[in-house]
């Protein structure tokens, strides 16, 4: 092997960092899981927090009901963080935290946990996701309005650059944009526009400290991307992003140091394309998607975490996650991909794809800039994503886009993978929530309350300063040290900053293209309107803290396109809010969407609230609902349950129209007023 061998590297590349997005139930249980994963050859940690922690509520908050410990670990205070990291040397570990609205708080807890281990903050390595714009666009775990949110991010960047220099304070996420339906061009354009908004805010914050600091800031910003199964184009997308990033650094921010200009990204491959039908096929999808981010050396990921094969069914078990880790290890240690220079260099096809994506992305970035930048363009981008997602679903429904095992080759033998009692997924012990609430009460009882009160008061004072003369990280770390809780920190800031609801994007969604099936349905709706006296009215609601609203948005838009009046209120609704809306709006049917696994608690709670409010409109539920939970929901009074395998939304609409019709007829037959009897159950569509 000569030094100039054009075919082989003189030395095999080191593998990327391997992680598993993990955490559930309690800090202690998650700590045990992390230690086992590290023993299995995982090289970094990726912490999944539960939704209350992500949105700034304590386990005893009304909104936290049913969500504690579900999609991640609950971390309420420094004690929880210490337990989570117990026995893991934080001076050596590289920890990625999927945390956004409350990122400043969780980083503060991590810094305090390190102090407890005798590790200085300057030694810490890792990433806080901290990308709030994509929370407004796609993921929904925001807590504060855009302005104060951007201030928190800028403060964190300013703080970490000085005190935690090896920390990536923000991970610009294109990942969730793709999950929300973004095309590759949209994914590139919106994430780059988002990075510009963050960098502009940060450069304002650190500007006085000069160009050198700004270059460091630029160098600390990393990306978190997605990769779908069209892996050749996906690889081109990453090459295009690295070109744009370098260009942005040089031209807009005057960065000259080559190290700072490098496009660094971590990845979690696509979950949107994973199917509930024949879920074993997801394994090959995940492998191919992993190739998109590893195959070409010039745009290879720094860190990878892969979803598990059963994500469309429910929460993955440790064994499912191990399988995904092993995929990474086979790629890195068995195949030869790490032995070569960039294998696409000089490829006409790859260069051509990259050029196309660059042209499209630049044009779309110009549109965002015309709106006044990413923060101002949130409603525009959101509506564009809703439209793209609708187009994607249309292609799958019409068969233009093949999804193996779902809209083609659907016949299947029974799967032994899902044959066990739980259906091949992790079920979180429902006692976890009560235990967390109890543990929180004793934490509050044992701490120095005066110290907490005074720390929170100082936080509020700093937040009220319009001039941002105080970096909010400083009172935040002090509050973490004093023993304040996640909910207390967030409530203090909500009181100053106000709360916020992101645009839903559905109001702006364009009208549907002509579609004979839809026209037929519209006639059906018109006939139903004659019977009811009013246009059929549906409430689409998302109870709980789950912010994954893509499904609910598509249902809302399709219901409108079917001719119904649709009340859609967006995410994070309490059962009481849903019941009050259903009553006041006089809806004929209610559709609820839950993806966080909290349906067992939340759906019965909503049914109770509806009953208490005297609402008798039938309820249908959609989301990631394991087969074995369907009967329980039916018993609670739910008329129909839809899961990811019900991909034909027009069929779902047909069912709903029929349900409203039979409810109205049933009511007429009973001689009671319209909408007062529960509808007969309709079957989930094929």
């Amino acid at each position: 092997m000569s030094e100039h061998d054009p075919v082989r590297l003189s030395e095999r590349d080191r593998p990327w960092m391997m992680r598993t997005y993990a955490g559930h139930s309690t800090a202690k249980a998650s700590n045990e899981l992390y230690r086992r994963n590290l023993q299995k050859g995982q090289t970094g940690l990726s912490v999944a927090f539960d939704l209350p922690t992500q949105t700034g509520y304590d386990p005893d908050d009304e909104l936290a009901r049913g969500e504690v410990g579900k999609v991640g670990v609950p971390i309420s205070h420094r004690g929880d963080m210490a337990a989570l990291m117990d026995g893991i040397p934080l001076g050596e570990m590289n920890t990625s935290m999927t945390i956004n609205a409350t990122a400043a708080w969780l980083l503060a807890l991590y810094i305090v946990a390190a102090e407890d281990q005798g590790v200085q903050e300057s030694q810490l390595q890792g990433t806080t996701q901290n990308d709030i714009i994509k929370e407004f666009l796609a993921r929904g775990t925001y807590a504060f309005p855009p302005g104060p949110s951007m201030r928190l991010i800028a403060d964190m960047i300013a703080y970490t650059v000085e005190h935690v220099p090896r920390w990536n304070p923000i991970n610009i996420c294109s990942y969730h944009l793709q999950e929300a339906g973004a095309t590759p061009v949209q994914e590139i354009a919106y994430s780059m526009s988002n990075a510009i908004a963050v960098l502009d805010a940060a450069s304002e914050r650190v500007g006085a400290r000069g160009q050198e600091v700004l270059e460091q800031v630029f160098g600390r910003i990393s990306f978190f991307v997605n990769a779908g199964v069209r892996f050749v184009e996906e690889h081109a997308k990453l090459r295009a992003m690295s070109i744009l990033w370098e260009e942005l650094g040089r031209e807009r921010y005057g960065v000259t140091d080559q190290r700072h200009l490098r496009f660094r990204y971590g990845v979690q491959v696509n979950s949107l394309g994973l199917t509930e039908a024949q879920p074993e096929n997801n394994v090959q999808r995940i492998v191919l998607e992993a190739l998109a981010v590893t195959l070409g050396r010039d745009a290879r990921a720094r860190a990878i975490q892969l979803p598990a094969w059963n994500e469309a069914l429910g929460l993955p078990r440790p064994w499912d996650q191990q399988w995904s880790l092993r995929i990474q290890q086979v790629l890195a240690y068995e195949t030869d991909i790490l032995e070569y220079p960039d294998i696409f260099e000089g490829s006409k096809v790859m260069d051509g794809l990259v050029a196309e994506l660059l042209a499209g992305a630049r044009a779309e970035m110009a549109v965002v800039a015309e709106h006044g930048g990413a923060v101002e363009a949130v409603p525009y981008m959101k509506a564009a994503l809703v439209d793209s997602h609708r187009e994607r679903l249309r292609r799958i429904e019409s068969g233009e886009q093949t999804v193996v095992g779902q809209n083609r080759f659907a016949e299947s033998e029974d799967s032994p993978l899902t044959a066990d009692a739980e259906g091949g997924i992790l079920v979180v012990d429902p006692r976890v929530e009560a235990e967390q609430i109890e543990a929180l009460a004793s934490w509050r009882a044992e701490r120095d309350q005066a110290a907490v009160d005074s720390a929170l008061e100082q936080l509020a004072t700093a937040a009220r300063e319009q001039q941002s003369s105080v970096n909010l990280m400083i009172p935040t770390i002090a509050a973490a040290r004093a023993g304040a809780t996640t909910g207390e920190w967030a409530r203090t800031l909500r009181e100053v900053f106000g709360s916020y609801r992101a645009p839903t994007g559905v109001g702006e969604a364009t009208a549907a293209a002509p579609d004979p099936q839809l026209s037929e349905l519209r006639q059906e709706v018109a006939r139903l309107q004659q019977t009811l006296g009013r246009r059929p009215k549906i409430l689409v609601g998302k109870p709980g803290l789950d912010g994954h609203s893509n499904g609910a948005e598509q249902i809302a838009v399709r219901a409108r396109d079917s001719g119904m009046d649709v009340v859609y209120e967006g995410i994070r609704l309490t059962p009481a809010q849903i019941a009050s809306s259903a009553l006041q709006e006089g809806v004929h049917v209610i559709g609820l969407s839950i993806l966080s696994g909290s349906h067992r608690e939340l759906i019965p709670a909503v049914m109770d609230a509806l009953h208490a409010a005297g609402v008798h409109a039938p309820v249908v539920v959609g989301g990631i609902i394991p087969e074995q939970d369907v009967d329980g929901l039916r018993q609670a009074g739910v008329a129909a349950v839809y899961t990811p395998k019900d991909f034909d939304i027009t069929q779902i609409m047909r069912d709903i129209v029929e349900l409203v019709g039979s409810t109205a007829n049933g009511a007429a037959a009973n001689g009671s007023s319209a909408g007062s009897s529960a509808g007969s159950a309709v079957n989930g569509s094929a």
């Binding site: 309005p145 839903t504 559905v506 006296g533 246009r535 809302a556 219901a559 001719g563 649709v566 006089g586």
Partner: protein, 317 residues
Amino acid sequence: MSADGAALAARLRQGDLSAAPAVLNLLESTTAADRRQSAALMRELSPAALGGEAPGHVIGVTGPPGAGKSTLLSALLAGWRTRGQSVAMLAVDPSSRRSGGSLLGDRARIDFDPADEGVLIRSTAAGERLGGLAWATRSAAQALSTAFDVVVIETVGVGQAETEVADVADTVAVVVQPGGGDVLQFLKSGIMEIPDVLVVTKADLGQIATRTRRDLSASLRSLGSSEVPVLAVSSLAPTSGVVELLDALHAHRQRLDVAERRLRSRRASALNDFAVEHGEHGLRALGGRSAAAALLAQQEPGLEPAALVAVLEQRLT
């Protein structure tokens, strides 16, 4: 089976706010049986039946999209509740009816406690008629003002929408965002009638909000309407100007001859409804619009619009 209109009316007259959703369901319905019950409901709630005007304050809030109406209404709602007043909000959504359906998202942007029985929010689509205030919305405002202290009708747009709201509201507030030059032009050119209160939102933007407010005041003075208050409000924390706006709305109602304004509004509504139903042809049969108006002016002042329409229709046969 239809709901009993007279029974619902009785509940509203007793101040039973929980009757409101059923009242609205009934008023929106187009089946023949429901229309009969609606007519009975409105008859029972007419000034003639009540022995006077319904006590609630009907406020129209209108303005262009993006002016910050929903955020403003959240702040106002909190203010009215603090003052112990019950509030019904009728949000008229402008969304396209191309597919027949509509997306009603407004209530999501208004903050309120779902357990608070003193608040009702109802969204409706703008109706088949472009820019028109649905018949049901006008009737709803009239009906709910017997039980709720404040009834807000929120519409989107400037010009036509504002005129329609003026037909039913005691007080019309037009909401403008800083730099909203359109409203200024509409006022000057007379496209838009002069509202009772003008609100400039997003006062936290500073300079530009102040300038918009000054420009509006100046043009109102030049139009001889210097008594119309122009208020700058910031509805986001820390709020400012909200209390002043609540006071200004209340003050307008205090100054107003409610009976006179509502009588005018009922007669205008009746004429409007008649014209929609029977067209220009129908109006000509009555000897023209002004003859029809003159006929209405001779009727008993306490009649509800539907009864007035019936009077006109009798003349047709």
